[in-house]
């Protein structure tokens, strides 16, 4: 019962992360489900769905198919759809029912690839993991399939972990690319918003990878190990702090050494940021470096990534755990999705609402903040000012 949520909805799951990652590419995506998971994705998780035509299908899995394990039926359906749509590649995704009955998604993909002679990706997504795992798996599968080593191109970066579930479909993706360009960096490949397969092919030629969400970390490590590309983990945030990222990229490039941007002397203090680890880290960094506010803890909603977290960051595994933590009344300010309000209101803390698609879906995605620029700078400034007022 400790996993029961009274106020928070289920967060976006791995298959939504995969679909969202593949959204910009000319592939055909099939979720092996009974329409429910695909409906979740298109209705709830993908801000770009409305007004777009993307071939994302449900296999229409029924009880008898699950019992009989009729892979051939699924394969026949996909082959038929392929001949009508001629996609560049096909992705087939697992969901909870195929997971329980042990459907062999990789094997089905291999059969289809043998038959159709185009790339077919099988994802053993379960619907039981968070979206960031799906995004991470997708990027790694794509890079292993398509990327080709080439000579390094100076002043070129890849962006890793850009996705609509963390950044929505406002100007965030463009802003992040723009802020890098303004500092003289050319973006080779923007994994996975606004990217193409030719860009993925050439991505190993970049000098540095900029990781903007925790879903990009595994790919960053893979590219570092495979092609020696160092990474810098930081989400461009606000106005002034981005200068730091430019110098870090320069240093990473020069020294060939990866960096996670994080101030020293942080401590478990007055502010709790509940959300995605790297975005929360970056807000914390602006608070620390611009405003001298170092008592900031990150409460990770989608898994605590040891590569990014401080020792005192919290891995929230349930709503109950969040409620209990807040009831300790340790924190004066909480930054997080508006749906956390019901929990925060039971404590003495004040909530600064920061919508997150993977949490509240379409409820607030039109009020999504722009991370680069005035809006976030002012938001963080207001948090800092409020804290000062509280502490006086």
């Amino acid at each position: 019962m400790s996993q029961l949520s009274r106020y928070l909805p289920p967060f976006s799951s791995d298959y939504s992360g995969i679909c969202s990652s593949l959204f910009d590419l000319d592939g055909m995506v099939v979720i092996h489900d009974a329409h429910c998971c695909s409906m979740n994705y298109v209705n709830m998780d993908e801000p770009r769905w409305y007004g777009n035509k993307k071939p994302i299908f449900s296999s229409g899995l029924r009880e008898i198919d699950a019992i009989m394990g009729d892979d051939d039926k699924l394969i026949r359906k996909i082959i038929k759809a392929y001949h009508e749509l001629n996609p560049e590649f096909i992705a087939i995704l697992g969901s909870p029912v195929p997971t329980i009955v042990g459907a062999d998604m990789e094997g089905i993909a291999q059969e289809l690839e043998n038959e159709l002679e185009i790339p077919v990706f099988g994802f053993s997504s379960t619907g039981l993991r968070y979206y960031n795992r799906g995004i991470s798996d997708t990027m790694i599968k794509l890079i292993k399939r398509y990327a080709r080593e080439g000579s390094k191109v100076d002043k070129n970066v890849n962006i890793l972990g850009l996705n609509a579930l963390d950044f929505s479909d406002n100007s965030n993706a463009d802003d992040i690319r723009e802020v890098l360009k303004s500092a003289g960096w050319k973006v080779s490949c923007s994994f996975m918003m606004g990217c193409s397969i030719p860009e993925i092919v050439n991505s190993p030629r970049a000098a540095v990878n900029v990781v903007v969400s925790q879903s990009g970390m595994d790919l960053a490590e893979y590219m570092e190990k495979t092609w020696g590309i160092p990474y810098v983990a930081f989400t461009p945030m606000g106005l002034n702090d981005n200068k730091k990222i430019f110098s870090m990229i320069e240093e990473a490039c020069k020294e060939g050494k990866s960096r996670v941007i994080r101030s020293d002397d942080l401590y478990d203090g007055e502010i709790l940021i509940i959300g995605e680890q790297l975005i929360a880290n970056s807000i914390r960094e602006v608070l620390a470096s611009q405003y001298g506010v170092k008592g900031v803890t990150v409460g990770c909603l989608f898994g605590k990534d040891k590569r990014l977290a401080t020792d005192f960051d919290i891995d929230f595994k349930s709503e109950l755990q969040i409620a209990r933590k807040l009831k300790e009344n340790k924190y004066s300010i909480v930054i997080g999705d508006p749906l956390l309000k019901a929990l925060v209101d039971k404590s003495q803390a004040k909530l600064f609402a920061l919508p997150h698609v993977a949490v509240s879906s379409k409820l607030y995605w039109h009020q999504y903040p722009t991370f680069v620029g005035d809006e976030m700078e002012n938001f963080i400034g207001e948090v800092s000012q409020t804290l000062k007022n509280i502490l006086i």
């Binding site: 042990g102 990789e106 094997g107 291999q110 059969e111």
Partner: protein
């Protein structure tokens, strides 16, 4: 590292045979891991000298995310690394899904990378009844599948079904059919019957194990024949079988 799945009808002697092959290979200096894939979790009993080791699924239930490889992998006195996947309470739950979960956990924890076995045996319950029990045949798992059978009709029927499953997965480039292990039950014309089965399944009998009471005696001592009666003819039969298995990898 080579991975081998041993299938066959329930009660045909898979665990006894697999444990003796593991013991024989360990004796020759191979680092062997034996993974029991049966909710009864008794595959490694003789290797562990009667000690019932905790299963992967039980440990996952008990320890949650704090589980470590040391909770799952146990070294027998002859050096064989023993694992039992485990399964649900009889009559409820889903044993097939249990196998998948146990396999995924071993992989997540990097069992193969840490222990670096030369040979891994998957000792799999009965027939390939569902996706879970087909897991050892799938990509990334067994390279070869050997089937234990006698000349009894139901054992051969099960063997034939298992070969069908292996062939079905052939399109996906998975494990190859390695052959039949004839565990004699002294059925009339047993070798002839099983030879015919081998022919029909495009396989061969890789070894014939005679029926010998010494196997039961060793089991009564909670030991493999290799350990209890190392000089017995039956021990040599198992050594020869182990050699044949290695030769076919």
């Amino acid at each position: 590292m080579k991975k081998i799945a041993i299938y066959g009808k329930g009660g045909i002697g898979k665990s006894t045979t697999t444990s003796n092959i593991s013991a024989a290979l360990s004796e020759k200096g191979y680092k062997v891991m034996q993974i029991g894939c049966d909710p009864k979790s008794d595959s490694t009993k003789t290797l562990m000298h009667g000690r019932k080791i905790p299963t992967v699924l039980d440990q996952m239930k008990e320890k949650g995310e704090n589980i470590e490889l040391e909770d799952l992998v146990f070294e027998a006195s002859n050096g064989v690394l023993c694992v039992e996947a485990g399964g649900p309470t009889p009559g409820i739950g889903c044993a097939g899904r249990g196998i998948i979960t146990a396999f995924e956990k071993l992989e997540d924890l990097g069992a193969y990378e840490k222990f670096k076995p030369d040979i891994v045996f998957y000792d799999v319950l009965g027939d390939v009844v569902c996706g879970g029990f087909a897991m050892p045949i799938r990509g990334g798992y067994a390279d070869k599948v050997f089937i234990v059978t006698s000349g009894e009709m139901m054992a051969m029927y099960a063997a034939s079904n298992i070969v069908s499953a292996i062939n079905n997965f052939g399109k996906r480039g998975y494990a190859k059919y390695g052959g039949l292990i004839l565990n004699s039950r002294n059925v009339e014309n047993e070798v002839g019957l099983v030879s015919k089965l081998a022919e029909e399944t495009n396989g061969s009998i890789i070894s014939i194990l005679p029926r010998d009471g010494i196997v039961q005696q060793a089991e009564d001592q909670n030991r493999t024949v290799i350990e209890s009666f190392p000089k017995a003819d039956m021990a040599n039969c198992y050594r020869e079988l182990a050699e044949q298995v290695i030769n076919r990898l």
